[in-house]
Symmetry: C3
């Protein structure tokens, strides 16, 4: 926790943007326009929140030229306020990054290779044959299984477990309590019971992948489970054995992907989505939260399932009717038939006797 | 595991209730009426289970005066049997509470402050600037990040991870493998891919909060994620960045709350509920299990979504009809139109020619 | 990671199957037919994939007699190719099994009993009164609470937490970051807020049970939570307090089972299923993924709920109609009434005046 402080003029230079206002104001952090104080910087990326400029107490604001016109206060004027904000946020990120070197309490196998620029935290365990590349950070209590590989500058937060033989690329981030490489859920039916199928495959993860806390990526049954470059996975996600996820796909919290399903690139998968096994999901598919996917998706686009929220009393009535929906639809068809008959009958004129 | 034993008479005095029966019976635990043995105490809080009094082998039973009338055995008679049971359960709770003091294997930064009455378990890591208040218990293998604060008498069970700068109030309980303060899932779209937005906010948790195993509370993007006093959160819950949860709200297992959503006080949220981001949920809202919440809820009350369970064969037919539901409803409307026309036609009498 | 190598002839002898082809081929692993290389063994269990035999580069293939007829290459001919594959996979399983003995860094209470043939990994904590039976493996950083019991040959992967008093049978496998014995989610309502009900029960788990990463099994409120022999539980599953799961039931990832529910034997429960509390599920029930179970199930069979995936635009229309479904069904009924009236009217002939 190193408190960082910049003068507004320094920030403008560092970020390559134009300052209008007092270059001497001390800025020690970023905050929302609503909560920013006099030594904090706000930003306006969405003109929708323009109103908040009027009342903000921020010591300065990142804005585009147009908003700067209307705003009287100290401004860092950027053609892309959102990008400037992200760049600025990196300067103020208080997230402590450990120094290189191996903590004296860590347990490193003599058959493991740890780059001297890597950092290994207290009580970490690095097993035989594992390799930790340059600049990687292995947090406290992490477990890196036999033969596992952690790429350059990849960071494991405390208490991540990599099972044996897992491969992680460069510049990845894995959050606390993720588990990569546990056995896939594979059994052959006995009568009664189940026989465990050894899970011989591994897990292969590309570069620039982020994996959230509690997320599990199971090892393959025979071939590897595979996650492409740039994939971003939130907390509590289940990636079952032999799943393949294409580059730059993003997956929100609570989603489960069943075994052997192949997901394309550039997909966005909302929270708590369930995807059955052995499916193929095309590139550029967007699934809304809690979607239930039981068949392959061949075309890009947005897909959903489920029913909307209602007062429980109303819901119970409608849900009861859902049980009759097939019958109801058949009754409608029968009525249509009768209606048509009646109309024909009447068009034919009144019966003659 | 210290086995505890009380005589029935001592228990009556201790709990401030009336004993009818033998004060000398030794009681060493509580059990359900169905499974209680001669040295265990049962209780009847719900008259519905009154029948079980007849056959219980319990050495004594906590009951109200009315039930005591009908029950011949040893009785602790309380006007509020449920409260008396809870009080009694506390006496028999075998959950071991560690002694104060710092385990010799724990790794405490010289820049951390640990109250002498706090307990720090084996292999725990307390980082620079962290503060552990009086009577707090930090379980084995816990990780308390830089600058994090653990309030008085708060207990972290083994292997909890607090990231840097997280604040926990007094009298909280956090179960094993909860993670508090991991990065929120925030990216700006690149083309292709995603740029990580540094998560500069923290997490602020009130007093008397309980947080279950595997639950994640992400740090805010700019401002803090916030959880009010008395909130109870079960296992496997996801609280995304900048969520705010009002006091005394209870959230069951598997629920996910997306970013920036604000939840009121005194809500109860059933298991596996999914709540989209940037919503507002009023005080006193009750969501049934697996509800899908995609819009704000302005009024207290009970809300639900989903469809009921059916035999799979029936379900497939009804689910297929759901795909046509809009069309079906239009067909119904068209039939109503035709019917009305027909009725008008017939009321007008047979056509004259 | 000990690379294993067998000659094809040795494998045939070891597996008790017939070899047709070159007994000298070196085999060092198994792979899918599609990806197998010259020193790997493939297998064909499902005639559907028979086509792949033609193009496989595998050094040998496990097949039945019929497929062997059509396949020219090296064959291990088995009447049950799938069983032979599983047996063979065990031979090639690279999963390292630690040697017996207690790691010098582990923290073992003097009041714990550890069988000399058990293995205790680095930084593991074994509390007072715990018992670790013959051949059991306790991974790095595991926490075995006071009085907990780990049966013979049971394996805990790194960072499993057993709370106090938990009982695990023989030949179980528990994956990293599972938590067994945390407090059930039990509170009595105060006004406002909640009073914690001490969870005095334990957890009792049978033999040959597998429990996935992140799975939680909560301790009972009074009696024990109970899991029968041969039960298989995937990752991210929640088993609440006082649940009982019958032998050989298998539960896929993300499923949540609420308190006091009793599940029969030989059930299969798909991923992300939600089961309400205090229900009874019969033996031999199969629940499809994401099913919502709010009532007891008395008969074996397959059950489902939910709605199928659609393009979001179509879905929104249908979901809106679901809100009107009760009303829609009533309108249909009214139309049927009118139709019937009309038909009667017309059958009665044109009105006479």
């Amino acid at each position: 926790m190193h408190p960082v402080s910049w003068r507004l003029g320094e920030l403008a230079t560092r970020l390559g943007v134009t300052l209008r206002g007092d270059p001497e104001v001390e800025i020690n952090g970023l905050a929302s326009l609503e909560h920013a104080q006099a030594n904090q910087l706000g930003f306006l990326a969405n003109p929708k929140y323009c109103k908040q400029l009027e009342s903000t107490a921020a010591g300065g604001v990142i804005v585009d030229a147009e908003a700067a016109e209307r705003f009287g206060g100290n401004s860092l004027i950027s053609p892309h306020p959102y990008s400037t904000y992200i760049e600025c946020a990196r300067l103020f990120d208080p997230s402590p990054r450990p120094d290189p070197g191996i903590d004296s309490s860590a347990r490193i196998s003599p058959e493991a290779r740890v780059d001297p620029t890597a950092s290994i935290g207290p009580f970490a365990v690095i097993c035989s044959g594992a390799r930790i590349d340059a600049g990687a950070v292995i947090g406290a209590h992490c477990h890196v299984g036999a033969g596992a590989l952690v790429g350059a500058r990849t960071r494991l937060y405390p208490q991540v477990v990599l099972y044996h033989g897992v491969t992680l690329g460069a510049d990845c981030i894995v959050h606390s309590h993720a588990v990569i490489g546990g056995d896939g859920f594979g059994y052959a039916p006995l009568n009664p019971g189940w026989e465990k199928i050894p899970q011989l495959g591994g897990v292969c993860i590309g570069d620039r992948v982020e994996i959230g806390s509690m997320t599990t990526v199971d090892r393959g049954a025979l071939d590897d489970t595979w996650i492409g470059d740039g994939v971003k996975i939130d907390n509590h996600v289940q990636v079952a054995h032999n799943v393949r996820i294409g580059p730059n796909t993003a997956i929100a919290s609570g989603t489960g992907i069943s075994g052997s399903t192949v997901i394309g690139r550039n997909c966005t998968i909302g929270g708590a989505v369930g995807i059955a096994g052995h499916l193929t999901i095309a590139d550029g598919v967007h699934l809304t939260g809690m979607a239930m996917v039981t068949g392959s998706i061949r075309e890009p686009g947005a897909y959903s399932s489920g029913t909307g929220l209602m007062e429980s009393r109303e819901w119970r009535k409608n849900a009861a009717r859902f049980r009759q929906l097939d019958e109801t639809t058949r009754r409608l068809k029968e009525l249509e038939r009768q209606m048509s008959q009646l109309q024909n009958h009447l068009e034919a004129g009144p019966p003659h006797d």
